[in-house]
């Protein structure tokens, strides 16, 4: 009956109201989806700015990093930079600790790397785990220093470089346009007064311009990660690196769950940690403030005493490969390549060739005692009479340590000073900080081999692990040879955070006129104080050609722009 009361207009209004009512849940749902997506899209963006667009094999490429995300509190402070070829084959990787959303680092170009275009991929662990990150890849051309006849090079095909916007307000001026070899270049960067406040980071660098790859400096290739990486733990790396891997059965290669994975790093005060493998056999450790290349010793103890092996994952990121086609180089390009390869040869002739040694490992101790606490007693066998083996040492020097060599095997028991009795089970035995499960290893050690012995005569806990006393033997030579000979113990050399080195560089005048100055990069800096006028200078090297001065500016909205200028060196 109600419809009789309503007219046509009223009927329309009712329908519209009904529509409105029906739409409301969808609108709410839509807003909710947008909100959730927005939250999920609070992803990290990382940009890498190398100081050059090309390198000769054996060179070191320096770079600046800029990282930001919508959630500034949860932004990673560790950025991994990976060098891959165009087909996605991994060459090397470094991990840089950033501060204040910027970082500086370097990556060595292996001497054996063949001529071609390579890709520098900066990424964070969050990007790797979430699988949603966009990796802003930078291209760099590497010329092999033994490759004298480069005529053809594989270059990306069908992929357009994304370019930073040219900043027309910023003016770079130099005293003149043409310079002699070894001449001082005064550079003046003028930022308009109104613009100073809007920029938060400014990077400046200058170097030889490669006619083939110079375009790579002002552009990048964004690429999505291929797949989400299954990581046993979600972590934002703030001051360290996550080490992860898998425990598998030695015989069947099947993942081993609930195995106790022990990580040891031999050092003056040894590092020790443990992790229980999950159902997929995965484990993880977080190494804080560790720099250089660590000697990781990892062993796994399964619940059923099954022999296990460790597979460490090296945390490379996988993105789509870049299709490439062959390009025939022009005469100008081949001449430039020939010149810089010759320059590299002469540079090594005059300066010598240093084989890059990995950075020494450094791990600041978090506490004043090792993980097993203050030792109850420390013995220095060297201070006593010469004793040929550990049995003699234990008898004569190590009071409270019962060491028995029998036919069935060698046993060690420590005194439990809490209850004045011997522990009924084996203590934690450490050799240079590495847990040992075969007591025979100590047998041949005499006073000449042992530096000191720490003993803890109490039941100790480390997290959920229990030790029936601790016997920690430190040798004089600290060799890890025994580790490599023991089956089931994984010994890995693992690059931790890169040791921070001075990033700023200014090519100076070479005092000895007989030694040529063959630097390809002439200047790089992160501007500390952004002023309306930024001045710097550098000397040109002895390589003729174009020199490009680049200034990268990042404004408060995280927008990147750049300004550049060429000068000619005759």
């Amino acid at each position: 009956m109600t419809c009789l009361i309503f007219g046509k207009e009223d009927l329309k209004v009712t329908r519209m109201n009904r529509r409105k009512i029906n739409i409301v849940p969808y609108v709410i749902l839509f807003i909710l989806i947008l909100f959730v997506n927005g939250k999920m899209r609070a992803q990290e963006i990382i940009h890498l700015f190398p100081d050059r667009s090309f390198a000769v094999s054996g060179d070191t490429v320096w770079f600046s990093i800029f990282i930001y995300s919508d959630d500034s509190n949860e932004t990673s402070e560790v950025v991994h930079v990976q060098l891959d070829d165009l087909a996605n084959n991994h060459v090397s990787k470094v991990s840089i600790l950033c501060s204040g959303k910027t970082g500086e680092g370097y990556i060595h170009i292996p001497d054996s790397l063949s001529t071609g275009i390579y890709v520098l991929k900066p990424f964070s662990l969050v990007q790797k785990i979430s699988g949603k990150g966009v990796i802003n890849q930078k291209l760099i051309t590497v010329y092999n220093r033994f490759d004298n006849e480069t005529g053809v090079i594989e270059e990306p095909d069908g992929i357009k470089l994304k370019r930073y916007d040219i900043n027309k307000e910023v003016v770079i001026t130099t005293g003149k346009e043409q310079y002699e070899k070894g001449e001082n270049v005064n550079v003046e960067i003028r930022i308009p007064g109104t613009g100073i406040d809007q920029y938060k980071k400014v990077f400046a660098f200058a170097g030889l311009a490669d006619p083939f790859s110079q375009r790579f400096l002002s552009g990048w290739i964004p690429s999505s990660t291929i797949a989400k990486t299954e990581n046993p733990v979600m972590l934002t790396e703030k001051n360290g690196i996550l080490i992860s891997g898998k425990v598998v059965s030695n015989e069947t290669d099947v993942p081993v769950a609930n195995a106790i994975v022990l990580l040891s790093i031999p050092d003056t005060i040894p590092f020790f940690d443990y992790c229980i493998s999950d159902s997929a056999g995965e484990f993880y450790f977080y190494l804080r403030n560790a720099t250089g290349v660590a000697n990781l010793v990892i062993q796994a103890l399964s619940q059923n005493e099954e022999k296990c092996k460790i597979k460490l994952s090296y945390s490379f990121i996988e993105v789509g490969s870049i299709p490439a086609t062959q390009k025939i180089l022009t005469l100008e390009e081949t001449t430039f390549i020939g010149n810089i390869i010759k320059a590299s040869y002469y540079s090594k002739l005059f300066k010598g060739y240093k084989i890059g040694t990995p950075d020494n490992f450094m791990l600041p101790m978090q506490f004043k005692y090792p993980f097993y606490g203050p030792p109850t007693k420390t013995y220095y066998p060297d201070l006593f009479v010469d004793l040929p083996d550990f049995r003699e040492i234990s008898r004569e020097i190590l009071h409270g340590v019962q060491y028995r060599e029998r036919k069935g095997g060698t046993t060690i028991r420590l005194q439990n000073q809490s209850i004045s009795a011997l522990f009924s089970q084996e203590p934690l035995r450490l050799l240079d900080g590495i847990p040992v499960f075969d007591n025979k290893i100590f047998a041949p050690m005499g006073t000449n081999d042992i530096k000191k012995v720490d003993v803890v005569f109490y039941k100790r806990f480390y997290g959920d692990l229990t030790f029936n006393g601790v016997l920690s033997v430190y040798t004089k030579n600290k060799s890890l040879d025994w580790v490599d000979l023991k089956p089931g113990i994984g010994h890995f050399e693992y690059s931790c955070l890169q040791l921070a080195k001075r990033f700023e560089f200014m090519n100076g005048r070479v005092p000895d006129t007989h030694v040529p100055n063959l630097n390809k990069v002439l200047f790089r800096t992160t501007v500390k104080e952004i002023k309306s006028q930024i001045d710097f200078n550098f000397f040109t090297s002895d390589i003729k050609g174009d020199v490009e001065i680049n200034v990268i500016l990042i404004d408060k909205n995280n927008h990147i722009s750049y300004a550049h200028k060429f000068i000619d060196v005759k």
Binding site: I276, S277, D278, F367, E426, F461, G463
Partner: protein
């Protein structure tokens, strides 16, 4: 030996063998799971034994209370079962996963909280005391501002007439808890103070009159043994004399 005894001994020996071969790295009552994993520095410590049965209590809290521990490196552990032994000055935790009682190493602890009824009195901080007894002690932070009011809970054995403890052993002492209060001045000097009006006023010889007036005006009489009056008094003195 009858058959039942033989079976019993066989089972006992078999179970002993099992515990001997099982992993030597964890308490045999339970196998470890991923719940044991943490990115924090693991809590380290030594086995705690409940030995003495003197009268009185060696603990600040006889029952386990939940609390948090913050390590010197900034790592934080929440919801631990804690006890403070004020006789040995050990922070004790009951590890529910492995069923063990451990003394948390003092060298790793920075501060801890115990979730007691008095939320204002549950923060303890490790501090170095350069007078007797020299060393690092856990101080209860009763008030924190420019001035700090701290309490060191000190339990000692006090002689008494002989008695037999629960184990039938003759004892001649009992545990006595003695809270010792300190005020830390802005220059980090620690000065002992009693929970009395006179003791507090004596710390500020030049302001005696004004402090007396201030306490009177704010009706702080130190009648109760509650530390809140002392904390209030310190707060007032700080506002009045240390606000700049």
């Amino acid at each position: 030996m009858n058959l039942q005894l033989k079976i019993l001994f066989t089972i006992v020996f078999a179970s002993m063998m099992f515990s001997a071969v099982c992993q030597e790295f964890h308490a045999p009552i339970t196998s470890l799971t991923t719940k044991s994993n943490t990115l924090n520095y693991k809590l380290s410590g030594s086995q705690y034994y409940f030995f003495s049965s003197l009268e009185g209590s060696a603990y600040l809290n006889d029952d386990w209370v939940r609390g948090s521990v913050i390590l010197e490196n900034g790592d934080r552990y929440d919801s631990l079962l804690l006890k403070l032994n004020t006789f040995t000055e050990d922070l004790i935790t009951f590890n529910e996963r492995i069923g063990a009682v451990a003394i948390i190493d003092k060298f790793i602890v920075d501060e801890f909280t115990m979730d007691t009824d008095k939320s204002s009195e549950n923060l303890f901080r490790k501090m170095y005391f350069d007078k007797y007894p020299k060393g690092e002690h856990y101080f209860n932070m009763l008030y924190e501002g420019k001035l700090k009011l701290l309490c060191w809970y000190y339990t000692f054995e006090k002689k008494t007439s002989t008695y037999k403890d629960v184990a039938g052993i003759t004892r001649d002492s009992y545990y006595k808890l003695s809270p010792i209060y300190f005020i830390e001045f802005p220059d980090n000097t620690l000065v002992k103070v009693k929970s009395t009006r006179k003791s507090l006023i004596n710390l500020f010889p030049e302001q005696k009159k004004r402090i007396r007036k201030l306490l009177r005006k704010n009706k702080i009489h130190f009648y109760s043994k509650n530390t809140s009056e002392l904390a209030r008094a310190v707060n007032l003195i700080e506002t009045e004399f240390f606000s700049n």
